[in-house]
């Protein structure tokens, strides 16, 4: 009887350890996504991209539809908030491009070509696009590859944070508002064709 006990303990321990190991599962469609406990996750960015890009397309399509498909150079998104976008960026870019392309009047130019042209003309900041010389240099390089854009799109993320200390029965709380604004400008004139934004607030408990 004692021998059974002796064997049972390590087996039970092994079972517990095994149960604590890494696991993975495929989430069902429509199942709730995780909300990050320290910084924004997929849910936040998916929502922001969906909201703002859809608005952008709605605002810009009326004009665009009348004049045929426009070639869009998507410059990217810059961070003006407290959280870096780094590993979220490829997915965000894909989603924005997908919405733009599927909206009808836009075709999106290769992002690699856009990045290369930006580097070639030293176009680091999006605000550079409002200077004719910079736009001309950029469209010139893109045009050399027969891909001169008609419109340029870029985005900016910002965060606003409010913190409150917890009491005896509550934890410290941090509320953070995330926003993504997208701008579309005419590649030839630099005129802003459309500017929209989406917002989401997340509450973090420390």
């Amino acid at each position: 009887m004692k021998k059974i006990h002796v064997l049972f303990v390590p087996l039970a321990l092994a079972a517990v350890v095994a149960a604590c190991g890494s696991t993975g599962r495929v989430k069902a469609e429509g199942e709730d996504q995780l909300v990050g406990d320290k910084r924004a996750g997929n849910l936040t960015y998916d929502e922001l991209v969906q909201q703002s890009t859809t608005k952008l397309v709605q605002q810009a399509s009326m004009q665009a539809r009348a004049q045929g498909p426009y070639k869009v150079a998507f410059f990217g998104i810059e961070t003006k908030g407290a959280e870096e976008l780094r590993d979220q960026l490829p997915a965000i870019y894909e989603q924005i491009e997908e919405i733009l392309v599927n909206s009808g009047p836009f075709v999106v130019l290769s992002r690699k070509a856009v990045d290369r042209a930006r580097q070639e003309v030293g176009l680091r900041d999006f605000s550079d696009l409002f200077i004719a010389k910079n736009r001309d240099a950029f469209t010139g390089v893109m045009g050399r590859d027969s891909e001169s854009p008609d419109v340029l799109v870029y985005g900016t993320t910002t965060t606003q944070t409010t913190e409150s200390e917890g009491g005896w029965f509550s934890r410290d709380t941090k509320e953070r508002r995330y926003s993504l604004s997208l701008e579309m400008i005419d590649a030839h004139t630099g005129t802003i064709l459309s500017k929209v934004s989406g917002k989401q607030e997340i509450e973090y408990k420390k």
């Binding site: 320290k38 990217g76 998104i77 810059e78 961070t79 003006k80 908030g81 407290a82 959280e83 870096e84 976008l85 780094r86 930006r118 580097q119 070639e120 030293g122 176009l123 680091r124 900041d125 605000s127």
Partner: protein
């Protein structure tokens, strides 16, 4: 009787000595091969050494570490000290101009540091005092918590700076969290204690980078606020004083001029080595308050010198760098942050708690040794055996004590920065020691040059941001070599 006991005593002594001898390598000895190679600017060897440590710590195949540049998902940064080694690895990647991997590795390190940050749980920290400090999870020195996002910001500038502002803000967030910590402040609920973090000084580097990014974007008033914070925290560093002046009364740059920021990671940063310290009154006071929480009484007698971490900073006085173009001096760096001094200040501020923990630990061990002695006395008529066993047990338990000398060794001794206004066009900057930077300066634009030079007597690595680096000249077409005649 005495003759009979001798062999037994020898056995006990041998056992005790073997315990002492078995005390494994101190952390600073473990990292030494990497740190030495890094300090000699032998980046290839440093990377090999750190890869071995990562594989060992993360429990993965060395080939996986090397092939994936330590980025494979199977390498768990939270396992043991893996994240610390990943931070070291990030510097070797930076030295290889692999900024992408450097950023990913630093982010992994930063995320583990964030989860291990201890704000106010003094009791938990004291309860773990029975263990040697080196057996605890490494939580990162507070300056390492701050410098990780600071370095991320600098490296990100080389990639275009898309996230640089976010990282600069994180420096401020982390810094304020640390300085706002209540750790150790009120240990017994009656206001007794000591908060080491209240002794810290704020670091100017995050605010400077924040100002730099804002100024680049044309927001002079916001840039000024950030620079002013940098001045308040870092003192009258010439480059910061000039920045404050420029953003209030000046202009970004003269017409048709751009700005080159040279950021030099100069010299070998602080390394922790083991030293010894006597027990201090402040530490005993804290130990006695702490003992109320953990239910032990701290003995004040017989406290021998305690192994403690001591900061070694061989390049603490790294000289500034003079920068030349076309044979003319165009500027010199200013030290924005002296990492060695900050590390030393923080270690000193934390010393009372380090010693207090050691005092508590020794008390617990003494209680254990007394138990061994009592047990031996009960089973042996000779009182000497019990005493000897007690002394040897205590000796074995305390002789193996090691100071926690873990730290991020590849940090520089100093962060030095220079801001040069230069006419637009291509420039070759002479950075001394045979180092050059080919920079394409655009009017009204920033360019970034990062110099990684751990060995001040040798050339380091010079990195230029992707928007300012000169396009590589097209390789001349060489005629295909004639095929060798077959034998």
């Amino acid at each position: 009787m005495a003759m009979k006991l001798l062999p037994r005593r020898r056995c006990v002594a041998a056992a005790a000595l073997s315990v002492v001898a078995a005390a494994c390598q101190a952390p600073d000895q473990r990292i030494a091969p990497f740190a030495d190679a890094w300090g000699a600017a032998d980046f290839g060897r440093a990377e090999e050494e750190i890869d071995e440590l990562i594989a060992e710590e993360a429990g993965v195949e060395p080939a996986l570490v090397t092939e994936s540049h330590s980025l494979d998902e199977a390498i768990d940064p939270a396992r043991g000290d893996t994240f610390l080694f990943l931070l070291e690895k990030s510097m070797t990647r930076l030295a290889s101009n692999d900024t992408d991997a450097a950023i990913d590795l630093m982010r992994r390190g930063r995320d583990v540091l964030a989860t291990r940050y201890v704000d106010s749980d003094v009791k938990g920290w004291l309860l773990s005092a029975v263990k040697d400090d080196t057996t605890l999870e490494y939580r990162g020195a507070d300056y390492e918590h701050v410098l990780t996002p600071a370095l991320l910001a600098l490296v990100d500038l080389l990639e275009g700076g898309q996230d640089a502002y976010a990282y600069a803000l994180q420096v401020g967030e982390v810094q304020e969290t640390i300085l706002g910590s209540t750790f150790g402040e009120d240990v017994d609920g009656e206001g007794n204690g000591y908060n080491p973090r209240k002794q810290y000084q704020r670091l100017a580097i995050g605010a400077y980078v924040e100002g730099l990014v804002r100024e680049r974007e044309g927001y002079s008033s916001e840039a000024f606020k950030a620079y002013e914070r940098a001045r308040e925290w870092g003192g009258a560093v010439p480059v910061v004083v000039e920045a404050c002046e420029r953003t209030t009364n000046g202009v970004y740059a003269a017409p048709q001029h751009g700005v080159v920021h040279v950021i030099r990671l100069a010299g070998r940063g602080p390394r922790l080595v083991q030293g010894r310290s006597p027990m201090t009154d402040a530490a005993l006071f804290l130990a006695n308050i702490g003992s109320l929480l953990i239910g032990e009484n701290i003995g004040t007698l017989g406290q021998m010198q305690i192994p403690v971490p001591v900061v070694s900073s061989p390049d603490m006085n790294a000289p500034e760098l003079e920068i030349r173009a076309d044979g003319q001096v165009v500027g010199a760096t200013s030290t924005l942050l002296d990492v060695g001094a900050v590390a030393a200040q923080q270690i000193e501020a934390n010393m009372p708690w380090i010693l207090a923990r050691a005092a508590i630990r020794r008390t617990v061990k003494a209680v254990g040794a007394k138990a061994v002695q009592d047990a031996a006395d009960r089973s042996n008529n000779d009182q000497g055996v019990g005493l000897l066993l007690g002394v040897l047990t205590n000796l074995a338990l305390t002789a193996g004590e090691k100071a926690d000398t873990r730290n991020w060794t590849s940090l520089p001794a100093r962060f030095q920065v220079a801001r040069l206004e230069m006419p637009e066009g291509a420039h070759d900057l002479d950075l001394g020691s045979g180092m050059h930077a080919s920079v394409r300066v655009a009017a009204g634009k920033d360019s970034y040059v990062v110099v990684v030079q751990p060995d001040l007597s040798k050339a380091g690595v010079v990195l230029v941001d992707v928007y300012s680096s000169q396009p590589a000249p097209a390789a001349p077409e060489t005629p295909a070599a004639p095929e060798a005649p077959r034998p």
